[in-house]
């Protein structure tokens, strides 16, 4: 099912785009598919085994931050990927 991915900060810089849709039913499959769609994110914010790299966060629909890669995703969900360091 299509899940909307929104990129912020360095992931957006490296990807050269701010959003895309990927087919995924949980967080792990989303990270894998995202790495396939945008290989330049692997090694930046994505590990090559379906995990986020330290220093980055995933957020579900703008509300909860999520780390459990088994987190179920539904059609129409949005995953935001952003830097964990929010200091200004």
């Amino acid at each position: 099912m299509p899940v909307h991915v929104e990129l912020f900060g360095i992931p957006r810089q490296r990807a050269g785009l701010k959003e895309l849709d990927v087919e995924a039913n949980n967080l792990r499959s989303l990270f894998v598919e995202l790495g396939r769609a945008i290989p330049q994110l692997v090694g930046v914010c994505l590990e090559d085994d379906g995990q986020l790299k330290p220093g980055y966060l995933a957020n579900l629909n703008g509300r909860a931050f999520v780390t459990d890669t088994e987190t179920r995703l539904d059609d129409g969900d949005s995953i935001l990927i952003l830097s964990a360091d929010a200091g200004g």
């Binding site: 929104e6 629909n61 703008g62 931050f65 935001l80 830097s83 964990a84 200091g87 200004g88």
Partner: protein, 601 residues
Amino acid sequence: MPTAPPGYHGRYLRVDLSARSAAVVSIPADVLRRYIGGSGLGTWILLQETADGIDPLSAAAPVLFVFSPLVGSPLTTSAKFAVMGKSPLTERINDSLSSSHFAIAGKKTGYDALLIVGAAEEPTCLVIEPHGASFESAEEAWGKSSRDAASILADRLGKGFRFAAIGPAGENLVRYATVSHDGRHAGRGGMGAVLGSKKLKAVAVRGDRATPYHDLDGLLALSKSLSQKSFGPATAKYRELGTAGNLLAFNRLAVLPTRNFQTSSFDGAAALAPEAMTLTHERTRASCAACTIGCEHIYHRHDNASGVRMEYENLFALGPLCGIDDPEAVLTASALCDELGMDTISAGGTIAFAMECAERGYLDVPTLRFGSGEAVLETLEQIGARRDVGDLLADGSRIAAERIGHDTADFAPHVKGLELPGYEPRALQAMALGFAVGTRGADHNRSGAYEVDFSAEFDRLNAGAEVVEPAIETEDRAVLLDSLILCKFLRGVLVNYHAELAEMLNLVTGFGVTADELRVASRRIVTAKKWYNMKQGWTPSEDVLPARFLAQPLPQDAGPSGGAVLTRERLNELVAAYNLARGWDREGWVPAEQLRELGIE
């Protein structure tokens, strides 16, 4: 005089501007070990030197420039110092930290701190060199920006001096005036007004007194490794986008304070973000002295070759908070704050508050409307000169609300008088706690509790007692960096936080401190700051947020934070849990027994 530990001079210089005299004061070695430097050492000195209940703008009030054991070392980001005293904005302890060659030159004068009391009769530049203090006229620099003042005084004094100076806002006792140096600012809490009250336009430092290192080879090796790590992915955001890189993510999460905290997302955010501004404006990058991270992003206005440092905080405060979506207006307003010598957060927060007052009919200034860049610029000029409505707003939103009356105190955006930075507390509720209990008021550099909110372990919209310990941990970690002093952007680089910082301190000083000793030092310094505030009149009723945040939910249309509620009861419970976790009583009074245990008095 006893030998000081490596990294220290073991003394501070106490200057009396009224008597035009100076005296050297020894600092016991055990004090240096227990309070380290920067904010910690400064708090200890202020406790010795400040009368209870003192007027911060009186001649007797001390202002303090504090260095640290790491200043001048090859450790990246260590060229820092703290400007401290009782804030005229909050009437509580204030420590404004900044970075520049002033820190390195200041420490080379041969003192770990410069304490200034008294007041000059005429505009003065205080000159500090290893042999002591001298007093130069600053008449021709009075009325000038800090940059122009430093240039005038440098021409007169000769080579090798570094200057910290105030602009017109400091001279006019704007309660959020900065102390500026090399284009950078000790920004928060109005220490510039304290200098202004003393007719102290500038402090010039020059010296050749280096301090030895306990283990130079080890320090060089560690410094090289730290610098290499500081180039890595943990700091890429700061290098490539700067702190302004927060803007779009904060807006998407709806935690971006907008129109005086009436909502938390801003339609015009995209135009202000660095991702867009790099396409519309020439940008250059820069670093603080002795820094390898290089987070500074300087944007050049279309009509002016001079650049403006753009950080998330000045962007938020002079942009969305005032309803401004024009990048040129925000850049010009930031440049004007630099020129006048004013804290951008408090300036933006106070103007946004005034805009809401005017729109509600409580302030008769028809031009003050959200979204008007012209109004922001005109009001900044008026504040810097204390002219027209600027005289009212120069005292900050808390005092302005007291004078305007009606229900305006409910939406004056401050804690203890210090205007909130760019984190919406109803949608970042661990940060709300950090703001409420902060000893210098609402501040994102003293509490990093937003890290707790930006975590999968906690619910940023519904914080409970579980956030208290991690929020305290961020505060303790921050005060340690502020005492060593190192930049907080190194946080992501450190894996074993306390152990690595202990190693740095030990290589410089030879103290042999452990990670646990540094944890205790953090608690000691936080508690000492609280003790200072208690001696200056703190009461538990100060540890709260304005009524807006506790009575009004965020609007339902505020994106994913829509409808967020933080009740007064919940915040009170969080504050009580915080106080108890610190070993204080439920209201926040520090027991005498703890003061003794920590060696505070």
